[in-house]
Symmetry: C2
């Protein structure tokens, strides 16, 4: 049994935050961020109390040069004393080759995914969704057998920038395949930002009918302003882990219309207003978001770092 | 019995959109918008199929010069053939004097409100919340007796920029007073944008316990990114009418921290994705939002007019 990241460990209604800005955010940026800067940001994100930190993606550096130093980053943080014990470092892997790289540099949690849209899947991997699923299941099982945390995702789970609507049954079919293969830590990603809360709730009710005890994570983009509404709908349906990007960085370079991820500090602000996660240093996150804006020299999508953090209202 | 604006008339789960940008939006702008421009925008908003349009506020022109032409606007649209029959024109009134002005120029629906925060109430009206409530109830009853639609609101219902948390019981107390006075069309306004969806749902469940059949409207601001999440929570609780501003204009000049209203076209996009309000011309709203951005020569908060409207996914 792999170690759990489930919110049950942290008490009921207590959400886990998986920061993906250093991967999903930076891979969208034209500018290559120096490794030392990434390390400093990762330290800031860990110090602020986030739970899981995605350091990068084991993709070919020619394809996504922004991720070329992923192995370096993991090697840096695997040295003793360089990260708090409670923080889990995750990395995205696309195939067996990526898994080998990850095993060599100390990845603690592997994230692997398949697009529910054939068009998106072919653009991303050259394979149909069904072919990619079998490949990912096989890679994920290898990682699981090595005793690592493994999260398998369904990308474009709520709509596709190329195909438009994605049938719910196609998403449930992939999840069913994951569950059959013993992969019980599932993430649903709204890669293009098409999801809306009514749909999210309907989808997740169907997902939890497949297995009421599965660990479910959600990854939303705020393309049409519905990112936090979708998080709330998912929370109401029982989702315990959310993937977000500081300052709202992010997107997907292989999908047509995409905007930033749900913004981490906006999501944490919401959690804290709702009485959760008072252990996270929101002021620290806001300071980091301002650093991001200064570094990239543009206005970032997040709102809380611009509006200022108000007194907590519970 | 006053004419109803309730969604029941439009079928279940079908939200009514009350556009308040020409009032709540423009009163925040330094620039005075010419009356002819306001008329053109109002025509565009009505043509796009919005339900209720707030043309302005009957406040003293020295206090809010942006609203000085409110009477002119109502007089313009009361001439036959100048607006679609189905559109309701609303105006904000603060007192009996405003009501007299409104009666002279053909207001169809009066909006009156009281802040649940004493500090906000005193800054806005010079009166405590309790004193202001009695004055508003009296004015609203006069309007009701004249056979007009009347909506009474509780401002700062989810928190105050000055006082911070606002006890739920204070909000329920004001609503109870409205109901006792025969005022059954209630709006809850999150003036400072402090509301979060868990709180919104809890509040509205308590409100509908006071009277399951009251007409309830919500007015959210997107200060911390939770505007649409709050709309969704309110819809789930049974709210049928939402106040929003095209392009996300708006705020409140008498509260400390405020950002734009929920953005109309982002809200309509959400409704249409959820299968509602296909009768509203989203492309028309997007074109108008771009006009707003060009007129004010700055980026507007709304996202859909920047991301582009995707194919509908239902």
């Amino acid at each position: 049994m792999q170690p759990s990241t489930h919110r049950q460990e942290r008490g009921p209604f207590c959400c886990v935050v998986h920061e993906v800005g250093l991967r999903d955010g930076l891979q969208m940026e034209k500018q290559i961020v120096p490794t030392g800067q990434k390390i400093a940001w990762a330290e800031g994100l860990m110090a602020a109390g986030l739970d899981i930190l995605q350091l990068g993606s084991f993709v070919h550096p020619d394809k996504v040069p922004q991720m070329a130093d992923t192995d370096l980053l993991f090697n840096h943080f695997k040295k003793p004393g360089r990260k708090p014990e409670r923080v889990i470092l995750s990395g995205l892997v696309l195939n067996e080759k990526g898994l080998e790289r990850g095993e060599a540099c100390g990845v603690e949690m592997y994230c692997l995914g398949v697009s529910a849209s054939d068009t998106h899947s072919r653009k991303n991997t050259g394979m149909s969704s069904a072919e990619a699923t079998e490949r990912i299941v096989s890679t994920a099982q290898t990682a699981l057998a090595a005793g690592k945390r493994v999260q398998v995702s369904v990308q474009s789970a709520f709509g596709c920038g190329f195909e438009g609507p994605v049938p719910q049954d196609r998403v449930l079919g992939i999840i069913g395949r994951y569950l059959d293969a013993g992969l019980r830590n599932i993430s649903l990603a709204d890669t293009a930002g098409h999801g809306h809360p009514v749909q999210v709730r309907r989808m997740l009710e169907a997902v939890f009918k497949l297995d009421a005890a599965l660990e479910c994570s959600c990854h939303f983009h705020n393309t049409y302003g519905l990112g936090l509404a979708n998080c709330y709908a998912a929370m109401e349906a029982g989702v315990g882990t959310f993937e977000s990007s500081l300052a709202g960085l992010g997107g997907c370079p292989f999908t047509r219309v995409a905007a930033g991820n749900v913004c981490t500090e906006d999501f944490v602000h919401f959690l804290q207003r709702a009485g959760q996660r008072q252990d996270i240093d929101l002021a620290g996150l806001i300071a980091l978001a301002k650093e991001f804006a200064a570094f990239f020299d543009r206005e970032m999508p997040g709102l809380v770092h611009k509006s200022g953090s108000p007194a907590k209202t519970g």
